[in-house]
């Protein structure tokens, strides 16, 4: 099964003094990046299978041979996250698992890119929680498209319009689960941010 051996190897190699100080040659930096990426992808599979085990062990509708497929978004920093960008409906929900690796309870604001302006966020008990939509700026959007095009060889399929932000309370060394779905036209949905632009600055 998946493990963290390649990540351990990549981290071990990156302890070289040139790696720590950033004084390695460019082709060596590229090799560190490649090894870390390979290690990350392997560790991602391990995390996905662990989360699937945790999620399904508490489910009352668990079926034999069902394996929940968890994905991560390593390019979230440039607002690229295919699972959250997919158009959401009130029939199909996006499940967001937030894991806290620290030994104390944390209050965090989670931000993910979404394509719709009618979304609702619920916690694991089905209670709606407060959320906010922030328009993705042109600068962020242009950078995302440039890098993702280079990464995929084509422009990404979806075009997210907003960052969806919601508050998450996560227990020590544990996880919280949230459901994001498309809101019904008449139902509650996220608050769209007010945007004010200072047109004239001296």
């Amino acid at each position: 099964g998946p493990n963290t051996n390649k990540l351990a190897d990549a981290l071990a190699i990156a302890q070289h003094h040139d790696a720590v100080s950033g004084t390695e040659r460019q082709h060596v930096a590229s090799d560190y990046a490649l090894r870390l990426s390979i290690g990350y992808m392997e560790a991602e599979r391990l995390v996905a299978s662990s989360l699937a085990f945790l999620a399904e062990s508490g489910s009352s509708i668990r079926q034999e041979n069902t394996v929940t497929n968890f994905q991560q978004c390593p390019l979230l920093n440039i607002s690229y996250c295919p699972p959250s960008e997919a158009i959401l409906s009130d029939k199909k929900s996006l499940v967001v698992v937030v894991y806290n690796p620290l030994g104390w309870k944390r209050e965090e604001v989670i931000r993910i890119p979404v394509s719709s302006e009618k979304v609702v966020v619920q916690d694991s008990s089905g209670r709606e929680i407060e959320s906010q939509l922030l328009p993705i700026s042109n600068t962020t959007f242009n950078m995302r498209n440039k890098y993702v095009k280079a990464y995929l060889g084509k422009f990404p399929r979806e075009t997210p319009r907003y960052w969806l932000a919601f508050s998450a309370s996560i227990p020590p060394l544990g996880f919280s689960t949230f459901m994001v779905s498309g809101a019904r036209q008449t139902g509650p949905s996220s608050t769209i941010s007010l945007v004010h632009t200072l047109e004239e600055v001296t």
């Binding site: 040659r25 929940t68 996250c81 508050s167 459901m179 004010h196």
Partner: protein, 285 residues
Amino acid sequence: NKTIEVGQGSLKLLYSSDEGKLTHYVNTRSLVTTAVEQSYGYYSGNDGTDKDPQASGAYVFRPNGTFPIKSENQVPLTFVRGPLLDEVRQQINPWISQITRIYKGKEHAEVEFTIGPIPVDDGIGKEITTQITTTMKTNNTFYTDSNGRDFIKRIRDFRTDWDLEVNQPVAGNYYPINLGIYMQDNSSELSVLVDRSVGGSSLVDGQIELMLHRRLLHDDSRGVGEVLNETVCFLNGCEGLTIQGKYFVRIDHLGEGAKWRRTVGQEIYSPVLLAFTEQDGSNWM
């Protein structure tokens, strides 16, 4: 009328509507109010010619000039407000932008900077810095972490165990910042935490400086044998690297910042992990 207030919890940042600049940091719970400004600048890299043969490179920081980066206001300042967080979006120039975020339940400001590609078509390598400037009287003293461990006292142009002859007034006072840097006067302390290793200093009383990105055009001849000029290639060619990172700023009463530096420092180092999957509406996991 002349001031724009950002933040809906205890922390508020005030911006002047005339100049579009940060002017004050206010915490209504702890009653801290400080005049504060933020700016960008760069050091030009020494080219290793003329009288000084040592070039700036990956190992050697040897600036031969300090230049402020003026905001060109190509895209105006934008304020985004909502129930969970407020944002201030600034395009400083064509290759520097930043978003300042204030979360309702947090008492620090988060600054996300995006820098690059650093232009070098003028033949000058550049090391890009940001400055946070207050009126604090810090008496040549500041504190930087030691590889994420204890904060160590630094005194400008001074070493505790030898007589320092200052030949490089900037580089000689720069320190590695892996966790953070802070400074204090007799009533308050300003702390900055980082999400990545950077260089930093306090070259002027009341001011903290971080070096966020650099692109140089000469090898320093100290072993790398290569210029620090990283590029990223797209389908239609290569360009200088663009970087994105965050730093976090908080001002406390004197002696009250240590807990924040330790807990939030750990949270920056160990962020939460997000994983996604889908489910049918009626099929609750």
